[in-house]
Structures are given as structure tokens and as C-alpha cells.
């Protein structure tokens, strides 16, 4: 079987201006999309609300997730608690954050409700807006605390005094995202629905600033080392093209991801890293053939060499990308939303990574060649 007849010559570079123009547009759109609408960060990056729920009847993690998605929660984490039947830890991205001005009103309400001589010494609203802890200089009553909060327009689920100490702390759990979620599940599942949550807490991001910084640093170093290696094994003309192609691939994939507002989380990072690996691999293979032809066909201009090399490689390029896309498609067909998201990213990345080797990496190499190396010959 032969997909491409041997000796086929396609003038790839004839269309390069149009295609590079398209790539530039896509890349700038992607860059712009990072600011507007901006990445849709998942719980891994943004944090969210975490509940531990005990369900009234038999239910699997998949069904819980499905119900939550029907209720409009996007990409909830559902983790079973082992050793306890039908108990799950559920994480959703929604938080019932209370804006600063409302928090100030609540504070004033509490201060005015306190009897004379008793002052508020600490006022702490949890970042998820689901818990309010206050400390007072003297003993106060839980009921007075609760009614002060209700007068400020809050819905209080429970209020209690914490272990008495010199600080007189009082804690109130507020009705928020969690209760809405539980109500929704109860309505959908009836008797099998969860009872009152065992715990509701705001959770911080799994991948905070530290991971983001480390990732960026790692990427920059990786790019630098790859450049050095390519410059050493090939020559200086090849290095920038490979790097631009790599950034191009990762940027556009991320851009598409952001434009369709898919959630960016730790698995997305894994997918982007995979695309990065694929992109380098593919570019170097194309480079290798150009390098080989450069020494065999010395009299031809580089743009023709690129055409010859790409044509010779076309069969390989189609088969390699094709088989990889094939296996990625399998994940897309059999997969839960999380898996579908990764395969979607990989699918885009592989397509872009394949064409960028031909239309980004090679033309930049040609440009480097005419601009910096063959200037005298052309003039």
C-alpha cells in the first residue's frame, strides 16, 4: 500500500505566506484569549467548595458526577470515601463568596448587636463565604450572634460557640453553594439523596502560585536547552524555528481551549506537556530530512529543499500523525468528560504540531538562512 506515490513533489512553500498569516492570526487570537475571556480555571487552580456527603441509598461516583453536571456544576470532583458506603467527597468550583462591602455591613451589624462593654476582637469570613468566625472580648450568646447575622441578611445554617477560651470565639455556618447543591441532589434523587453534609469547607487551589512559577521556569529552561542542542546538532539556522513552532503549538492549543471555555486544570497541564514533546519530536524529524538533503543537493535553494524533504516525508507524516490521532480519538469516544478534555487538547495539539513543523519551523529556518547567512550571496 502506498499513500503517497514515490517521487511526488508538492510545492508546500508556495502557500506559506497565507498559512503563516493564518497562524499569526490564530496565535494572536490565542494570546488575546488569555486576557479575554481568560482561562476558565478549574478547582485545581482556583479552589472551590468541598462537601462530604452521605447518600441515603446506593449510588456510584459516576452517577453522582452525572447528577451534579445535570444540575449545572461543571467538572465536579467526586471521590469515594473508602470503608463508608455511599459516602463521597464532592468538590465544585462554585463558592458563595461575600463581597467586601457586604462583609463590612455584616461587621457593623455584629458590632451594633454586641452589648456595651463587649467588643469585637476578630471577624473572619472564610474565603469561600461559608463560615464566619468572630471573637469577642467578653462572653456573648450564640442566639444573639445568630440573630445579628440574620438581621444582616444572611441565612445561617448553624451557629455555635467554639471551645471557650479567653477569646470567646463563635462560629456560624452560612447557607450557600453547598446547601443549594444538596437541595438539588435531593430533588433529583429523592430518598437516595444526601442528608445534611458531614462537612462543608472552602478549599484552596491544589496547584498554587508555586506550581505555576515552577512550570513557567521549567518551560523556559527546557526551551533554552533545546535551542542549544538543536544549534549544536544541526546549526544555528534551525534552532529558532523549532522553538517558535513549539511555542506556537502550545499557545494555539491553549487558545482553542480557552476560546471554547474548557476548564484548565492539572490534566490540561499534562496534555500541554505532551503536545510540547510531540511538537519537538515532529519538528526534529522534518529538520533531519532537510539537513540530509542540504548535503546531498547543494545547488538547490533552501525553499526547494524544504519542498523536496516535506514531500519525501509526507507519507511518514500522515501515518505518524494519523495513528496518533487515531488513538486519541479512541479516548474521545470512550471517556468521561475529564478524559475527553485531554483527548480534545491532544487532538488539536497533534494537528497543529504536525503542520507547524512544515509551515512554521521550516520557513523560519529559511528566513534565518537568507537573512543572516546568505545575505551576501543574494545581494
Amino acid at each position: 500500500m502506498e499513500m503517497i506515490k514515490p517521487g511526488t513533489y508538492i510545492d508546500f512553500m508556495a502557500h506559506k505566506t497565507k498559512i503563516i498569516g493564518m497562524s499569526l492570526t490564530l496565535a494572536s487570537l490565542s494570546l488575546a484569549s488569555l486576557f479575554f475571556p481568560g482561562p476558565n480555571y478549574g478547582i485545581d487552580f482556583a479552589g472551590g467548595t468541598e462537601l462530604q456527603l452521605h447518600f441515603g441509598g446506593d449510588i456510584g461516583a459516576g452517577e453522582v458526577r452525572q447528577q451534579l453536571e445535570t444540575l449545572g456544576y461543571r467538572r465536579p470532583d467526586v471521590v469515594e470515601v473508602q470503608g463508608r458506603q455511599n459516602e463521597y467527597i464532592v468538590r465544585v468550583r462554585e463558592v458563595s463568596a461575600i463581597p467586601d462591602d457586604q462583609a463590612a455591613q455584616i461587621r457593623t451589624a455584629i458590632e451594633s448587636a454586641l452589648p456595651a462593654g463587649n467588643t469585637l476582637t476578630r471577624f473572619k469570613l472564610s474565603p469561600g463565604g461559608d463560615k464566619l468566625t468572630v471573637e469577642t472580648s467578653a462572653t456573648w450568646s450564640v442566639d444573639a450572634y445568630k440573630s445579628a447575622l440574620e438581621s444582616a441578611g444572611l441565612e445561617v445554617r448553624t451557629a455555635n460557640a467554639l471551645s471557650p477560651g479567653e477569646n470567646h470565639p463563635y462560629e456560624a455556618h452560612l447557607i450557600g453553594v453547598a446547601d443549594e447543591l444538596v437541595r438539588g441532589l435531593d430533588a433529583a434523587l429523592g430518598e437516595r439523596g444526601p442528608q445534611t453534609p458531614r462537612s462543608v469547607e472552602w478549599v484552596g487551589p491544589k496547584a498554587g502560585q508555586q506550581l505555576r512559577d515552577a512550570a513557567i521556569k521549567a518551560l523556559l529552561y527546557a526551551i533554552a536547552f533545546i535551542m542549544v542542542y538543536v544549534a549544536f546538532r544541526f546549526d544555528l539556522r534551525f534552532a529558532p524555528g523549532g522553538i517558535v513552532a513549539l511555542i506556537h503549538d502550545v499557545l494555539i492549543t491553549l487558545g482553542i481551549y480557552v476560546l471554547v471555555q474548557k476548564e484548565v486544570n492539572l490534566t490540561t497541564v499534562a496534555a500541554l506537556l505532551t503536545i510540547l514533546g510531540y511538537s519537538i519530536n515532529d519538528t526534529i524529524v522534518v529538520y533531519d530530512r532537510i539537513r540530509e538533503n542540504m548535503s546531498r543537493l547543494r545547488d538547490k535553494p533552501l525553499s526547494e529543499l524544504i519542498n523536496i524533504s516535506t514531500s519525501q516525508m509526507l507519507s511518514r507524516t500522515i501515518i505518524t500523525s494519523g495513528t496518533t490521532l487515531l488513538s486519541v480519538m479512541a479516548f474521545f469516544i470512550w471517556g468521561t468528560p475529564v478524559i475527553k478534555d485531554i483527548s480534545f487538547a491532544l487532538f488539536c495539539g497533534i494537528l497543529i504540531g504536525t503542520y507547524s513543523s512544515i509551515y512554521i519551523a521550516a520557513p523560519i529556518t529559511e528566513w534565518m538562512d537568507t537573512r543572516f547567512f546568505n545575505k551576501a550571496a543574494r545581494a
Binding site: 473508602q82 536547552f225 542542542y229 514533546g277 495513528t323
Partner: protein
């Protein structure tokens, strides 16, 4: 077939056998198939490593810790008080800027006569100046620049006295910082432990740590490493003042003993006393009793385990504790440490010790402290427990020190303790102590259904590729398929040997290397086709094909490998996991793609002597 081929063939066969043996114990444990392909005990004995599924795939232990944020604030206050005196010393012209970090003792005493810094309650500092002129130096600008967390308050009736306190909104901010610091430190510790796939998340004033696996022994170690505050201090002992001798009316179970020690160059041999408690509950008994004592100012009694001349390896290390009488404050702590490593002390029969290297300011402080206390004992205190108390023989410059750990009966235990200490010292101390709140075993964080469907998808995907390759490239395709399968075998076998954790990012890396392995085979086969078209014999087409495709296979994989090395070096958590898998995968796919497939194809053309090689 020549001898060289037989040699390559035996390497190929040997690799397959070894790979299978290494992987066997992991397959043995695949759930739902009890007894299916059970590995014999002898295999398990020689290849104990197994692949452990990660948190996202299999679940693990979820630990919740409460962060003692109040203690964090107190610690910050203590540090501020310490710095306050020194910075004011610079403002007053007593100290130069360079001396502020490590002031000479004489100047410090002079400074203390002009300024008194006291800690009040948990969060405040009281500062009293000897005269109004000095007091005027404590301006709001000075505070804002150096101690932004503190507000200044004048004290009525005492004109030269100020109270520095942390306002409420700052307290909240600092609590957030405490949790952040705990998340970061615990994350680093777990990373250093080699468990790169654990997750650490902050939650209000708690942190949640999720660790993959199901091995109770490993969980114990993780618990001890997480919750350890790892506050290391070097404190000078005051043996010249025999405080314990003045303690009378000892309760039952606590005795007094005497020892003759060196207490400075002018006191080479003094007799001093210490308290001892033995047997069950000795530690609590001793620390409870010490709590009732009131040692003189700036001195304190610390507890360490009693060694009594025992050697490592001797039995019964348990339950004997003694006291040490030390200075209450110290200049040199774990915060001054740059790096730590396990080494072996030849003078103590190769006993594992921890050597530490100080940062430059710590090195200077340590030199001063040891120089001023030659021939006195110095206690190495870890989390309020004295690990050892060697005599300072001479001033120690160069910024290095060695920590001999207290008594452990068994060499392995001592070794592990030294390793754990290195981990916590490198990751840094926790500024706020952690206390365990609750723990649960959890299922896969990705959801059991995702894992199942993902596995199906992977299987179908790989099968589709294998079928396509066999149809399109025929004989060469079947060989390529064999290589993809062998690549997976070797990759998983190496993972098992290193006891690597398999997570979703790891699987993405595996998928990438499978893709790259296919690519290598495609490149080679396409080259062979080209050579065949030129009319070459199958045998020389294969030789030429491999030879020409080698550079592209090698360069493309090596470039990706470089990316892997860098990501593993600088990345954390999932990035590191991905990178390690990628590197392993590249090594195995080069081995299968370039070496193994040549062995098989050579056999096809030479051993079977095919006239026409069917490569599609």
C-alpha cells in the same frame, strides 16, 4: 546468521525475560483477578518493586491537619522582637549595618542597657527606651519599612515606652500566610521523600494532604515527616551553674545523677547534676515535673534521651530520659541552614550522621557562638528534644556542622531517622505546628468510572494503531507492533523496579512515547521502502534503512529527552511525574525501535532468507 547476531539476539531475549520478571509482581496485584498469573515467591523476592497506582487512579490516604496559626503569629512576633533590637541598634548608631545580623556580644550588652524589648502576651512587644532621644528613633516610617505587620501604641504614664501590636486585619493575613507556608513546606517534604504524586491543599486554617497507596508502614513514615515541625536549634549548655543540684524533693520515678564534664576553658572539669526518668511513661513524667520547676532567667531545662554509653545496635533503647541545663535563647537555628545530607562518621564506627551547611549569616553566627564557648557543651535541639550534646573543641568556622542523632537501637532505624531529618531540614521548618485533625481512605480522585473508561480507551486506541500498522506495512508492520508491545513491557518493568507511581499525567507521557515509538518504526520502515524501491536487496535495504533513519530517530528522541530532563529538574508535582515517565519511555522506545526491531528484521531477511520483503 553470524555470531554478532546471536549476541544481539541474546541481549534482546534477556531484556524481555528480565522485563517480564520485573513486571510480574505488579501484574500479580491487578485487582479482580486473584491468582491470575500469580508470580512465584522467588520472583517476588528478587523483584520486590511494584508499580503503585496514583491518587487519581487508585486513591489513597487523605490526612487533614490543623495549622496552629496562633503559634505562627507568636513565632513571627518573637522573630520581630529579635530583629527589632538589632535594627534599632543600627538606628542608634551602636551597630553598623553589617553587624546587624550577627552583632558582637559586647555591643549587644551595651544596646540592651539603652533598649529593653519584652514580649507581651502572644502577639505584642513592649519596648522601653532609656531616654527620650533614643525613643524618638522608633518612628512610624521605621516601623512601616521594617515591621509592616506592627502598629505602634504609646503607653500612658511611661513616655519612653511603646507597645507594638499586630492589628486584626494583619492577623488574618498572617494566618493565611501560615497556611500557605505549611502547604509549601509539607509539599516540599513530600517531594523530597520521592512521593511526587501526593497533593497538598490549604483549606481555611487546615491543610489537606492526599497520599497515594495503601501501605500502612509508608503512611506512618509520611505522618511523622509531615507533622514534624523540624525546629533545629544549637544551644550552649550552662554546666558551670549546677542548677539541678539545688532541686530537692524529687517525685517518685525521677532521680538525680552527677557527671563530670568540661564547662569552658577555665572550667575544664566540673561536676554537674541532671535528672533521669526511666521505664514506661518516663518522658511525660519528666516533662511534667520540669514544668513545675522555675529555672533562673535565660536558662531552661531540656530533655534528651539517656544514652549511658550504649552503642548503636545495642538493645533496649527505650524509655530513659535525662535533662540538660541550657541557655534559653540561641542565635543559630534551622533557618540558617542552606543544605543537609546524610554522612557517616568514621570516628563513631561509621554511624550515620547528618551534616549541615549554613547560609553565610548562619555560618558567621555559628562561628561566633562556638568561638565564645570553647570547651563548653552545645546541645543540638530538634523540636525541643536534645539529640546530642557534644563538647565544642574549637571555634568552628567554614559554616559546617554535624548532627549526631540521639539513641536508636538499630542501624536501619538510625539511617532512616537521618534520612528523614535531611528531608525536613532541606524543606525547611514549619513556622506553625500542625496537629492531625482527621484522616480517611479515599477512592480514585479521577473517579472509578473515568479510570475504567480511560483504560478501555487506551486499549482500543493501541489496538487500532497495531491493526493499522500490520495492514499498512505488513511484515515490517507486524515487527513494529511487536516493538510497541515490547516498549510498553520495558517501560512498565522499569517503573516497577523504581516503584514509580502511575498517574494520569504519567499515562499521557506513556501515550506520547508509544506515539514516538510508532514514529521511529514508521521512519525506519519508510526508509527501508525507499531503499527497496532503488532496487536494493532486502538485506542491504534494512541495513541502509536503519542507518539512514537513525539520525532522525535519535535526534528527535534526544531533543525530547532534554525537555524531559529539564522538566524533571525544575518542575514540581505532576510536571515532574510526567517528565520522569517521558524519560523512561524514550530510553525504552530507542531500545526497541533501533535495537530490537533490527534484531528481528535481520532474522526475517537472513534467517528466513526471504526473496522479497513485504513492507506494504
Amino acid at each position: 546468521m553470524d555470531r554478532a547476531w546471536y549476541f544481539r539476539f541474546s541481549v534482546f531475549l534477556g531484556a524481555i525475560v528480565l522485563g517480564w520478571l520485573a513486571l510480574w509482581p505488579s501484574i500479580d496485584r491487578v485487582e479482580g483477578r486473584p491468582g491470575w498469573l500469580a508470580a512465584p515467591d522467588i520472583v517476588k523476592e528478587y523483584f520486590p518493586g511494584r508499580i503503585s497506582p496514583g491518587l487519581d487512579i487508585k486513591g489513597g490516604l487523605r490526612l487533614m491537619y490543623e495549622v496552629d496559626t496562633d503559634r505562627y503569629i507568636t513565632t513571627q512576633r518573637d522573630r520581630a522582637a529579635h530583629r527589632l533590637l538589632r535594627l534599632l541598634g543600627v538606628e542608634l548608631g551602636v551597630l553598623t549595618e553589617e553587624e546587624a545580623d550577627a552583632p558582637p556580644a559586647a555591643k549587644l550588652t551595651a544596646l540592651r542597657e539603652r533598649i529593653t524589648v519584652e514580649k507581651v502576651g502572644e502577639q505584642a512587644i513592649r519596648i522601653t527606651f532609656a531616654n527620650a532621644e533614643d525613643a524618638a528613633k522608633l518612628t512610624r516610617t521605621f516601623l512601616r519599612r521594617n515591621f509592616p505587620n506592627f502598629n505602634r501604641q504609646t503607653t500612658s504614664g511611661a513616655p519612653n515606652r511603646y507597645r507594638l501590636y499586630i492589628p486584626e486585619e494583619r492577623v488574618l493575613e498572617m494566618q493565611g500566610k501560615a497556611v500557605e507556608q505549611a502547604v509549601r513546606t509539607v509539599g516540599n517534604r513530600i517531594d523530597n521523600l520521592g512521593l511526587r504524586e501526593a497533593s497538598v491543599v490549604g483549606q481555611d486554617t487546615d491543610i489537606i494532604v492526599e497520599v497515594p497507596g495503601a501501605d500502612p508502614a509508608q503512611f506512618d513514615r509520611i505522618r511523622s515527616i509531615i507533622s514534624r515541625t523540624a525546629q533545629l536549634e544549637f544551644r550552649v549548655l550552662d554546666d558551670a551553674q549546677d542548677y539541678v543540684a539545688t532541686v530537692t524533693d524529687l517525685p517518685e520515678g525521677i532521680t538525680k545523677q552527677a557527671e563530670t564534664v568540661s564547662a569552658g576553658t577555665s572550667n575544664p572539669s566540673v561536676t554537674t547534676h541532671y535528672l533521669v526518668a526511666r521505664g514506661a511513661g518516663a518522658l511525660t513524667r519528666l516533662s511534667d515535673y520540669i514544668g513545675t520547676l522555675s529555672p533562673p532567667d535565660d536558662r531552661t531545662l531540656l530533655i534528651g534521651s539517656l544514652q549511658e554509653g550504649r552503642q548503636v545496635g545495642a538493645a533496649h533503647a527505650d524509655q530513659a530520659y535525662r535533662t540538660y541545663f541550657t541557655l534559653a535563647t540561641t542565635e543559630v537555628t534551622g533557618r540558617h541552614i542552606e543544605d543537609a545530607a546524610v554522612s557517616f562518621d568514621q570516628q563513631q564506627g561509621g554511624r550515620p550522621v547528618v551534616s549541615v551547611r549554613f547560609k553565610s549569616d548562619g555560618a558567621e553566627l555559628f562561628r561566633q557562638m562556638t568561638g565564645a564557648n570553647v570547651k563548653k557543651r552545645m546541645a543540638i535541639v530538634l523540636d525541643d528534644r536534645v539529640e546530642s550534646a557534644p563538647v565544642i573543641q574549637t571555634e568552628i568556622g567554614g559554616g559546617r556542622a554535624q548532627i549526631t542523632l540521639g539513641s536508636y537501637s538499630d542501624y536501619n532505624q538510625l539511617m532512616q531517622e537521618a534520612n528523614d531529618l535531611v528531608i525536613v531540614l532541606k524543606a525547611g521548618a514549619l513556622d506553625a505546628p500542625l496537629s492531625p485533625a482527621n484522616e480517611q481512605m479515599i477512592g480514585p480522585t479521577l473517579g472509578a468510572d473515568s479510570v475504567q473508561q480511560g483504560a478501555n480507551g487506551a486499549l482500543v486506541g493501541v489496538l487500532l494503531v497495531l491493526i493499522f500498522m500490520a495492514i499498512y506495512y505488513q511484515v515490517a508492520g507486524v515487527v513494529a507492533d511487536l516493538m510497541v508491545i515490547l516498549n510498553l513491557l520495558f517501560l512498565l518493568a522499569i517503573m516497577a523496579v523504581f516503584e514509580a507511581t502511575l498517574t494520569l499525567p504519567g499515562i499521557a507521557a506513556i501515550a506520547l512515547t508509544v506515539g514516538m515509538a510508532v514514529d521511529a518504526n514508521v521512519l525506519i520502515t519508510e526508509r527501508i521502502r525507499e531503499e527497496l524501491r532503488l532496487g536494493k536487496s532486502p538485506r542491504s535495504a534494512i541495513d541502509q534503512g536503519f542507518g539512514r533513519a537513525f539520525s532522525s530517530v535519535f535526534d528527535s528522541q534526544l531533543t525530547t529527552f532534554i525537555a524531559g530532563v529539564v522538566l524533571a529538574q525544575y518542575g514540581t508535582g505532576p510536571i515532574k511525574g510526567f517528565a520522569v515517565m517521558l524519560m523512561i519511555g524514550i530510553v525504552t522506545s530507542l531500545f526497541t525501535g533501533v535495537f530490537c526491531s533490527k534484531v528481528v528484521l535481520d532474522w526475517v531477511v537472513r534467517g528466513l532468507r526471504v526473496e522479497r520483503l513485504r513492507v506494504g
